[in-house]
């Protein structure tokens, strides 16, 4: 169950989904942001969530590692059902923090604003979670960190502090940080939205490479062409509901879906 510490990534042979969400409902105050969304991300595949701003796509993504706690619904991460505390009406009112910490080590995230830790070097950022959360020795974590920094083309800046890097470089480091946990599932929350246009491609290139390796990924993105190219599954979210989903070919071939997509594309 726990991912081994191999350096070369091996796609899993099993087809059990890395994450299964069932009928997620989420409110912010009176606003219902997710209105019963179900989604699985099969092992070894890439799913992209697309949709207009305010459609709930980032909220859906953030439910997958419980940075947002859904109000109702069920969720299983890495074959393990999340133990929610519920009131008699079935509303989710709490979480098991220990289980959460354990599962979050298997589902890591790349943020829109990178969210690197500014007091740690590039390498320090990448080895921090493997050392503190997975309790790896500094030596093993460093070997792992160097491997993944190499993978994103940032090995030569290992001793730099994040503030001295460009946005694209920071995001590549953030991807290495997420990879160094060797997660079952990688989450990307609009990974190129905060970048200068000329920096977008270097980050998309890295993500494309990960997709080609067969890593399990869930992306929220506005890059429609990119999503179409790399995804096995596209999910179009509209006002908190899945309006359309399927393979990119199906979604783009379906006139009803295309009509949704037109303003976003």
């Amino acid at each position: 169950m726990t991912s081994s510490l191999q350096h070369a990534f091996r796609p899993r042979s099993s087809t059990a989904p890395a994450v299964v969400a069932n009928q997620l409902i989420k409110h912010f105050g009176d606003l219902e942001v997710l209105k019963g969304v179900s989604l699985d991300v099969p092992e070894g595949t890439v799913t992209s969530i697309i949709g207009a701003s305010g459609s709930g796509k980032s909220t859906l993504l953030r439910c997958m590692n419980l940075l947002e706690r859904p109000d109702q619904g069920e969720l299983a991460i890495a074959d393990e059902a999340i133990r929610f505390d519920r009131n008699p009406q079935g509303d989710i009112i709490g979480l098991d923090r220990r289980q959460l910490q354990r599962l979050r080590a298997k589902v890591t995230m790349v943020f829109q604003q990178f969210n690197l830790w500014p007091h740690l070097t590039v390498l320090g950022n990448v080895i921090e979670a493997p050392m503190r959360v997975k309790k790896l020795s500094r030596k093993r974590a460093t070997a792992l960190g160097e491997h993944y920094l190499e993978r994103v083309g940032m090995a030569d800046r290992r001793d730099a502090y994040p503030a001295f890097l460009s946005g694209g470089q920071q995001q590549r480091v953030a991807i290495a940080r997420a990879l160094a946990m060797e997660p079952r599932l990688l989450l990307f929350d609009e990974p190129t939205s905060a970048l200068d246009p000329e920096r977008v491609n270097e980050v998309l290139g890295v993500i494309r490479g990960l997709a080609d390796e067969g890593r399990t990924m869930l992306l929220v993105t506005h890059e429609m062409h990119f999503a179409r190219e790399v995804s096995d599954q596209l999910v179009y979210l509209d006002q908190g509901q899945i309006a359309c989903s399927g393979t990119p070919e199906d979604v783009f071939a379906d006139p009803r879906c295309r009509q949704f997509m037109a303003p976003a594309a």
């Binding site: 940075l67 910490q101 690197l116 500014p118 001295f164 940080r177």
Partner: protein, 235 residues
């Protein structure tokens, strides 16, 4: 006799230096305990649990609202009695000196803690929330998140305030003289009064306080350079 000449100063050099050392000891200990109280206070003030928040708010508000001199006197008489009772209960005698020192440290730490609470609270709130969210998203425990992300993340914001409080603390140790404890200021007062060389001794005291504060300012500047190592220097 030798009162108006520098020889008076030399006669008093031993007691003055020992008083200065006591002052440094009181300040360092009070500061360390104050830091701890401040961290606890800030944690409590940012806690989701209302009673804890209320307690911390009462502490920082009340202590900061009352003159320190008054607090020192109040806490000295209350604290000294409690300590004396405790020491008597434990069968320890001749502990008057310990009581004075412990009370001085305790009172100043208690006051420092109230100000530190506010310094740390502000510094923690100034950490960009994304950095904390990243720690949560990677499965950090509360403790790992606190000492690996929150603490180093808030120090650049907190250090200027911490440095201010340290300087104020050194000067506040002079207030301890009102309870007749032999720190620097009390010793100086005695020296000045017995020799009548008031200017000489108060000027000497000024120089000693200045040396203490200047050297610690240099130390804080180095510390601040270190905690800001990841930040580009402002043009």
């Amino acid at each position: 006799m030798t009162s108006m000449t520098p020889e008076g100063l030399i006669d008093w050099a031993g007691p003055i230096l020992s008083g200065a050392l006591t002052t440094v000891q009181i300040a360092v200990l009070a500061y360390a305990i104050g830091l701890l109280l401040g961290l606890l206070g800030a944690g409590a003030k940012l806690s989701p649990w209302a009673p804890l928040r209320g307690l911390a708010t009462a502490y920082s508000t009340l202590i900061r609202a009352v003159p320190e001199l008054l607090l020192i006197l109040l806490l000295y008489y209350a604290g000294a009695q409690a300590l004396d009772a405790l020491l008597a209960y434990l069968g320890m005698t001749g502990a008057v000196q310990i009581t004075g020192f412990a009370t001085a440290v305790g009172v100043l730490a208690f006051v420092q803690g109230a100000y530190m609470t506010e310094v740390f609270r502000g510094a923690i709130l100034a950490i960009p929330s994304g950095q904390l969210e990243a720690a949560d998203a990677f499965g950090f425990s509360r403790w790992a998140r606190f000492h690996r992300i929150v603490l180093p993340g808030m120090l650049p914001n907190a250090l200027p305030g911490m440095s201010n409080l340290w300087l104020i603390l050194i000067k506040d140790t002079a207030l301890i003289s009102v309870i007749g404890f032999n720190e620097l200021f009390f010793t100086i007062q005695q020296a000045a009064a017995s020799s009548r060389a008031y200017f000489l001794f108060y000027a000497a005291a000024g120089v000693i306080y200045l040396l203490m504060t200047l050297s610690s300012t240099a130390l804080f500047a180095r510390l601040e350079r270190y905690v800001r190592r990841g930040q580009p220097t402002e043009a």
